[in-house]
């Protein structure tokens, strides 16, 4: 049995949740078993709809209102033991990453995070994971009967769904909270970077914060999240939550467009696993070109608005 934590956000399933359910379902199929999804707290979509992504059954735990690491670890961990899950799949979102370690302890499981592909083998369990800030790939083996797999968001993507509704079970639960929420502050309208499929990122080459309008416009046309280099957030041109790289957010999109950013090794550490990288830089020697699939040498102030126009034409 493969258990998957089906994370909700404001009651809605996230795209990363569907990806995790499909991953769990593929693992289950390979072993001739079933994937069970666990939903904790309010869900606005019917939980049985996760069947479309391969869940055979959904256990819906009612009671908790919000994510809290210790409480979620207890609820999901105890369920994993009750159902004797061999694998527990968690998507590596902010909450998923906080959860993994505690969940492994509670479920008496091992844990392998940063996983980027389906297991190479199941007995013994061997999985491929990223290490050294994407500068290395590791095959890691679980030494335990049960293992928590932390999946990198967007590593596999969400495939078209084909399954039908899942069976479901409702339970009322209580579990100790070790932290109480005082307040939540969300940036409205922005796309969460770790999950974004397209990212438009800009660096110091943009010269001043008032020049970001063209970056936002390009992002908007693509339905992309915006990101920035570390110095840009350090000097306060852009909010900290946009800082990507080794010491910022790690992203894994299909398309990463870097504008006016040199491609320092610490920046690449957080973005180099992007599927396709486009670099726009006025300096043909900028190191970023070595990590790029497509490059344009030139002035961002000239190129970005024209690229936005060309994309708009194509996408309409």
């Amino acid at each position: 049995m493969v258990l998957v934590f089906a994370e909700t956000w404001n009651g809605k399933f996230k795209k990363s949740t569907f990806e995790a359910v499909q991953y769990a379902s593929a693992c289950a199929q390979a072993q001739g078993s079933q994937a069970v999804a666990v939903v904790v707290g309010p869900a606005s979509a019917p939980v049985e709809s996760l069947g479309a992504y391969g869940a055979a059954k959904v256990v819906h735990l009612h009671g908790p209102k919000q994510f809290e690491t210790a409480q979620h670890a207890a609820l999901v961990g105890d369920l994993a033991k009750e159902l004797n899950a061999r694998l527990i799949v968690v998507s590596g979102t902010a909450n998923g990453r906080a959860l993994m370690g505690a969940l492994a302890v509670r479920a008496e499981a091992s844990v392998i995070s940063n996983v980027t592909a389906l297991p190479e083998s199941y007995a013994p369990l061997r999985v491929v994971r990223g290490a050294f800030s994407s500068k290395g790939i590791e095959v890691c083996e679980s030494r335990s009967e049960r293992c928590v797999i932390g999946l990198v968001p967007n590593a596999l993507g969400v495939k078209d769904s084909a399954g039908s509704d899942a069976a479901f079970e409702d339970r009322n639960v209580t579990a100790e909270l070790r932290a109480s929420m005082v307040e939540q502050q969300l940036a409205s309208g922005s796309i969460a970077l770790p999950e974004a499929e397209r990212v438009v990122s800009a660096g110091r080459g943009m010269k001043a914060p008032e020049n970001w309008g063209m970056i936002e416009e390009l992002a908007q046309v693509l339905g992309a999240a915006t990101a920035c280099s570390k110095p840009v957030s350090d000097i306060g041109w852009r909010p900290h939550r946009e800082h990507v790289g080794q010491t910022g957010i790690q992203v894994n999109p299909q398309l990463y467009i870097a504008v006016g950013s040199s491609g320092a090794i610490q920046h690449l550490a957080g973005v180099s696993s992007s599927k396709t990288i486009v670099v726009i830089n006025s300096d043909p020697e900028a190191p970023f070109f070595k990590a790029a699939d497509y490059g344009i040498v030139g002035d961002a102030f000239d190129i970005v608005p024209r690229l936005t126009a060309a994309l708009r034409k194509h996408l309409n």
């Binding site: 909450n95 990453r97 906080a98 993994m100 370690g101 505690a102 969940l103 492994a104 302890v105 091992s110 995070s113 940063n114 061997r126 290490a131 050294f132 800030s133 994407s134 500068k135 290395g136 790939i137 590791e138 890691c140 083996e141 679980s142 030494r143 335990s144 070790r178 932290a179 109480s180 005082v182 307040e183 939540q184 502050q185 940036a187 922005s190 796309i191 969460a192 970077l193 800082h243 080794q246 010491t247 299909q254 398309l255 180099s272 696993s273 599927k275 396709t276 990288i277 486009v278 070109f289 699939d293 497509y294 490059g295 344009i296 030139g298 190129i303 690229l307 060309a310 994309l311 034409k313």
Partner: protein, 263 residues
């Protein structure tokens, strides 16, 4: 443990005992190579440093210590090779250091060893980094908290104790949340807990003082590893970049659509 001062007052922590967990990692610019048998990191020529996230934690620990008194203890699970990294933490200002004499191979093993140190020392606060940049696990903080049955805040971007409780901010996808917790607790530090401009670096006096500060080597509790690396490889290199003429952006759009299939 919190000490109650006055019957009607909430238990207040003065003399806060802080444990800061330091991971000894390759410098961010290090070229990563693996040994010919692909079994481990080739450490020749690699400079090791305090994990960048742990530096934020160490600085916050020292700030709290200046306000509240108490002690800051740095701990690393590792062989003798990690001692220069621990000495650096002492030079920055930690009062003493503990090296748990075991090779770290798995985050749960490390968490169990750290839990033993935390329990034995009776700490009020344990600070980790949100993840270490070597194996990028991000597992230790919440695993450690669960082993201790303490609250955890990770990634932690703000922490203010008030008596035996604290307010802590946590980064979430697209925003942040503010949590209230009781101490003792575990934090997984990230920039924001302190700003980069606040980061402490060792000065001459600190480096001199560090030579005589206590560094205790502790026998491991003997925790088993839940997982083990089988092999390492370098990611497949990108094929050479295709430079596209700045006057022909339609060609880029076409390639993104037909070749890369990302739009």
């Amino acid at each position: 443990m919190p000490i109650a001062r006055g019957a009607n007052l909430p238990a207040a922590i003065l003399d806060m005992k802080i444990l800061i967990c330091i991971s000894h990692v390759p410098d961010t610019t290090a070229k990563i190579q693996f040994t010919p048998d692909a079994k481990s990191l080739d450490t020749s020529g690699v400079q090791f440093v305090i994990n960048p996230y742990d530096e934020f934690g160490l600085t916050r620990a020292l700030q709290l210590n200046e306000k509240l008194g108490g002690t800051v203890t740095a701990v690393t699970v590792g062989g003798a090779e990690v001692e220069p990294t621990l000495r650096k933490a002492l030079a920055i200002g930690a009062h003493d250091a503990v090296r748990v004499d075991a090779q770290p191979t798995d985050p749960l093993q490390v968490a169990r060893e750290l839990a033993a140190v935390a329990t034995e020392g009776g700490y009020d606060l344990v600070i980790c980094g949100q993840e270490s940049i070597d194996y990028n696990g991000g597992v230790v903080p919440s695993a450690l908290a669960e082993l201790l049955s303490w609250p955890v805040v990770t990634p932690c971007i703000g922490f203010e104790p008030a008596g035996s409780r604290a307010k802590a901010s946590r980064e979430i996808d697209g925003g942040k949340e503010i949590l209230e917790i009781a101490l003792p607790a575990v934090l997984g530090a990230k920039k924001g807990l302190v700003e980069e401009s606040e980061l402490r670096i060792p000065n001459m006096r600190g480096i001199m003082a560090a030579r005589t500060k206590p560094l205790t080597v502790k026998a491991p509790a003997g925790a088993a590893a839940g997982s083990a690396p089988v092999s390492f490889a370098k990611p497949a290199g990108k094929s050479a970049v295709q430079i596209i003429d700045a006057q022909n952006l339609d060609l880029l759009v076409q390639k993104l659509h037909e070749e890369a299939k990302v739009i």
